[in-house]
Amino acid sequence: MLTRDIPSTMSDEDVIKEYLATQNSAYFDILYKRYSGKIFGKCISLLKEEAKAADATQEVFMKILINLSKFSGKSKFSTWIYSITYNFCIDMIRREKKDPSLLVDDIETKYDKEDDVEDIYLLEMKVKRLKIILEEIPVMDKSILLMKYQDDMSIKEISEITQKSESAVKMKIKRAKQKFRKTYKEIYKED
């Protein structure tokens, strides 16, 4: 069977079932087409370097293929693979000790007293500036903002990936937005 013979409307779950049953590479092609770009996007946002992001995309995809039979279908397939991607990149950064914020859990409370940051503040920002700010903020804050605003994950889904309670996730999102605004103000003083 060729990739073009597979209906584009076929659900991820059905593609996985067929791939596991037949090992036909056409089903792998479908999964690769649907998700490789998005995985690369997350890797480059977190790892910052294109070459590292390319290597990480390859390794994440291999992890996904090796563990495909373990996907239970409890969560959406996209949530499952993004979870593997985020965890892989965070582990990589932790190993390289490039982000000190990963070494301790965020217990700061000073941001709590600040005002909430409206979603529109982040969503209406120029992409070039967004990219620069994301490169500056700690990786955990960046991850949580990407999960919420790029992957449209619910609080429940983020809490499953980060293994934190839903209320802790809400607090982390609030703090990440505050850190984002603080960093923005530091960089673009004129605004």
């Binding site: 090992q23 590479s25 792998f28 690769y32 490789s36 770009g37 998005k38 690369f40 996007g41 480059i44 946002s45 294109e50 390319a54 995309t57 390859q58 995809f61 291999m62 293929l65 090796i66 529109i120 982040l122 969503l123 209406e124 920002m125 120029k126 992409v127 967004l130 990219k131 994301l134 903002l145 990407l146 605003y149 790029q150």
Partner: protein, 75 residues
């Protein structure tokens, strides 16, 4: 409402286009190596286990030994 995060994702997808074929080839190469190793294990695992069992003084299950064509008494 705009979503600058989605726009950033689009930029990354464009950036990925150039890298995509190379990454795909590497993944396919790696999966074929895994498949090859799996096939080799499938083929020889029983034999290796049989030799191991025989060496440790056990008796190889004749029914499951593919080296003995007449090992199944019902045939």
């Amino acid at each position: 409402m705009n979503n600058s995060f989605k726009e950033l994702e689009k930029l990354h997808l464009e950036q990925f286009e150039k890298k995509s074929p190379d990454i795909k080839n590497k993944i396919e190469g790696e999966t074929s190596s895994y498949k090859f190793i799996g096939d080799v294990l499938d083929l020889y695992f029983n034999k290796v286990m049989g030799v191991f069992v025989a060496m440790t003084g056990g008796e190889v299950d004749a029914q499951n030994n593919p080296d003995k064509p007449n090992s199944n008494p019902t045939d």
